[in-house]
């Protein structure tokens, strides 16, 4: 019924074009896949696709929380450090209390730090950029203190087998990423909390006037973001069997790049998990493809930087057209 009324003005072709304009990242993703398929015979293999999904899933899980926070018009720079702390705790505490309680405490550390971030942002009125920049440095310091500047080794290597479950070529980690992304897409589109997220980021005055508890709302999203960073850290510790104090360094930047690449607006009010999935996959495909082509690391960084700027220019151009 809703489609019928929507299409009174627009033909199906127009609405497909309209969707693509707002989700141009998928066009971009298709293009990169085509380019790498042509230039490398190893790219479009079942194994490699599985690898891309697993590699992308780590940034992806961070990006889900970041998307929520960014639609709110905020940012969380501390996710990389939170990830490192959660992974250090999950491994370091196993000697004292066993595997699962340690994992649980790791998870809780992320939730608690996210809660602290959100509370500071909501109550102090400081910009989240500053608050979480403090978190980025401070929490990383905490990780070094806890780990004594050494990589922590898991006592029992069966821990590393936990995520080694595959559904065909797709790892449990990748499945978890997609499941979380879909769940939070549902939250965004179908729950009160989701509507609040858009309303707060889009027009905070209107949201406040409408009686939305803006502060509580932001604290919830920062807490989700911190928890997901901890999930990512724990998965990483399972995959590596160690917890490096430097784990996840500058991952917050890759995460922001993935989210922005997807089309979620830095100023807030606009974005979705579909876009973020697109951004995460594009980023993963680019990194994987460039490595398959034996691109030196610094060239890879240059290409990524260029791609990011290009995607944003494209977004600006397309969305400008879309508005008029």
């Amino acid at each position: 019924m809703s489609l019928a009324t929507n299409n009174q003005a627009a033909t199906p072709l127009q609405s497909v074009l309209g969707w693509l304009l707002r989700n141009h990242i998928w066009v971009f993703l298709a293009l990169t896949v085509i380019v790498f398929s042509v230039s490398s015979p190893y790219f479009l293999t079942v194994n490699n696709i599985g690898n891309i999904l697993t590699q992308g899933a780590f940034i992806g899980i961070l990006a889900i929380g970041m998307t929520l926070v960014m639609i709110d018009g905020e940012i969380d720079l501390s996710v990389g450090a939170v990830l490192a702390l959660a992974s250090a705790l999950a491994i370091g505490l196993q000697d004292h209390m066993g595997v699962w309680p340690a994992v649980f405490l790791g998870l809780m550390s992320g939730a608690a730090l996210g809660f602290v971030n959100g509370t500071l942002v909501a109550l102090s009125g400081m910009h989240s950029f500053i608050v979480t920049l403090g978190g980025l440095i401070g929490i990383r310091g905490l990780v070094f203190v806890y780990s004594g500047e050494n990589a922590l080794m898991v006592p029992d290597f069966s821990y590393t087998e936990i995520p080694e479950i595959y559904f065909g070529p797709i790892s449990l980690t990748a499945i978890l990423f997609f499941a979380l992304a879909l769940f939070f897409q549902w939250v965004l589109s179908s729950t009160r909390h989701g509507r609040e997220t858009y309303a707060v980021g889009d027009n905070i005055e209107a949201a406040h006037d409408a009686g939305i508890n803006v502060k509580r709302h932001k604290i919830i999203n920062f807490t989700i973001c911190g928890t997901l960073a901890a999930v990512c850290g724990i998965l990483l510790s399972m995959r590596l069997g160690t917890a490096e104090p430097n784990a996840g360094k500058i991952w917050e930047l890759w995460t922001i790049i993935a989210v922005v690449l997807g089309g979620t607006r830095l100023q807030g009010g606009f974005g979705s998990m579909w876009m973020t999935i697109g951004g995460v996959l594009t980023l993963a495909v680019l990194r994987n493809g460039l490595r398959l082509l034996n691109t030196p690391n610094y060239v890879e960084l240059m290409v990524m930087g260029g791609v990011l700027i290009m995607a944003l220019v494209l977004d600006k151009l397309l969305n400008h057209k879309g508005d008029t």
Partner: protein, 501 residues
């Protein structure tokens, strides 16, 4: 007495330095459209914000449906049935029409999951009741302003509002859209909704309202039946005030013509405006808010681009200028909103004063601090500005002292023509008369001064000549003995009456 849905009793609200509402009482009956009029700063917005729960009054009470009511906030007001429709619409452009109608009050189950079908159905019903047939699933950002306004009005249906407050609802509507809006308002009225209608546009007020309450300086001047009054009376209530301050007028010794404007037009704002001004002359520009006064001088200065007309500077025709060229020629515009256009609030008086003329205060781009300080000291004593020092942030100063810095920064470049837009709005009496004296001094030094003011005594007191503006046109010019309050009121209200008829 029974026939009142909402009564405001003796509300007072004080902001630091201003009494925005002073013992205000008025009431709204079901099924009436009640106009709230007054010049800017009269307290209209404060009053309606108090009704909508955005401001908490210092004293007084709101009697709603026969019982004293405390409105805790906007959502509370809405749920009680009091709806405020903002001038700047209170919508989220990225959300759908239905989601915006129920913004913050979406129907959900116990777990916070949206009941989308119910949301959509209720929104459709609300829209239908208003007689606007657009799709509740459309993104609000894609709608026209008029349609977005309808989305806000649909909240009246959705929340079963008893009182709807419109703040300048026609500000950005076309004539057809306005007719539709009035149709909608009459529909609400027929259902027994009490409507408060705030507007500067007198023709609309006489068209749609049943009663008019006039506010001035935070006080109610009176409530009249629309059918039993006329523009002249309402205008008088809005602006009439006693001549309680003493004005100094510069000696009328005029020199050469400085500026002449012929047939200047700017579409939708004003048309065919002509005037001239000589050295040593003070020209007053009077009109109610919305008459186009500020727009005219902003166009002369080059902030706005003119559509047509000629500007002559010292008898030579010039191209339509940019602000930079205007400053270089010797024109200065002191804008109405000090904070937005006039001053960099974080900077001190020294830096603010030199800001428009950095080349005068610098040697090869390096700032000359001692030159700045000399100028700062000169104006601090000349205008007796109260500040702790050259680097005290101007945000910490009173409105009057801020205004003096705005003047200082334009005066230190030695302008030939200075335009003052509402130079004394919102400042204390002492600073006011200091500024009036300054205007006279400047004119006697040979400057041409244009003064825009909504305060009639001020315009009449400081000017040698007054232009009356109404609805984008110069409707009269007064000089000498013709410069009286009566004549000015007649000029601006008579013209409006014709336009409305």
């Amino acid at each position: 007495m029974d026939d009142v849905i909402l009564r405001v009793e003796g509300i007072t609200k004080t902001f630091p330095g201003v009494k925005a509402l002073d013992n205000v009482s008025f009431d709204i009956r079901p099924g009436e459209v009640h106009a709230l009029v007054g010049e800017s700063g009269a307290g209209k917005s404060t009053l309606m914000k108090a009704l909508a729960g955005l401001h908490k009054p210092d004293s007084g009470q709101i009697i709603y449906q026969g019982a004293p009511t405390e409105v805790a906030g906007p959502l509370d007001a809405r749920q009680k049935g009091i709806l405020l429709i903002h001038q700047e619409l209170s919508l989220s452009p990225e959300l759908s029409v239905a989601e915006n109608i129920y913004l913050g009050a979406w129907p959900t189950n116990r777990f916070g999951v949206l009941k989308k079908r119910e949301l959509r159905r209720n929104a459709s019903a609300a829209l239908e009741a208003l007689g606007c047939g657009f799709d509740p699933d459309v993104r609000v950002g894609t709608l026209s302003v008029a349609m977005q306004q309808m989305v806000e009005i649909a909240r009246a249906e959705a929340f079963n509002a008893n009182v709807v407050i419109f703040d300048e609802p026609t500000a950005s509507l076309t004539d057809t859209e306005k007719d539709q809006l009035f149709h909608t308002i009459r529909g609400l009225k027929a259902r027994g909704v009490g409507i408060v209608y705030i507007s500067h546009k007198m023709d609309e007020i006489f068209d749609i309202t049943d009663r008019i309450t006039v506010l001035r300086d935070g006080q109610v001047q009176g409530t009249v039946d629309t059918a039993e009054t006329d523009l002249n009376q309402v205008t008088r209530m809005m602006i009439g005030r006693t001549l309680d301050s003493y004005f100094v007028k510069a000696k009328p010794e005029f020199g050469e013509e400085v500026l002449r404007v012929e047939g200047l037009s700017n579409q939708g704002l004003f048309s065919d405006v002509s005037f001239s001004i000589r050295e040593g002359e003070v020209l007053g520009l009077y009109g109610l808010v919305g008459a186009g006064r500020s727009e005219v001088v902003e166009t002369v200065f080059g902030v706005r681009k003119a559509d047509g007309g000629k500007i002559f500077w010292k008898s030579g025709e010039i191209d339509l200028p940019t602000p930079r060229q205007s400053i270089d020629m010797g024109m200065a515009l002191v804008p109405e909103s000090r904070k937005e256009q006039g001053l960099v609030l974080m900077m001190g008086g020294r830096e603010n004063t030199s800001l428009p003329h950095l080349d005068l205060f610098s040697d090869r781009s390096v700032m000359n601090r001692s030159k700045e300080l000399t100028t700062f000291d000169k104006y601090r004593s000349a205008l007796s500005i109260k500040t702790t020092g050259p680097d005290q942030a101007v945000s910490q100063l009173s409105g009057g002292n801020q205004q003096k810095f705005v003047l200082a920064k334009w005066l230190c470049a030695d302008p030939k023509l200075i335009i003052l837009d509402e130079p004394t709005r919102g400042i204390d009496v002492g600073s006011k008369s200091a500024i009036h004296e300054l205007i006279a001094d400047l004119a006697e030094q040979g400057l041409a001064v244009i003064v825009i003011s909504s305060e009639m005594p001020e315009v009449l007191g400081v000017s040698h000549r007054v232009l009356a503006m109404s609805e984008g046109a110069v409707v009269a010019e007064f000089e000498g003995d013709d410069m009286t309050e009566e004549n000015l009121i007649d000029a601006v209200s008579h013209h409006r009456g014709e336009a409305a008829a």
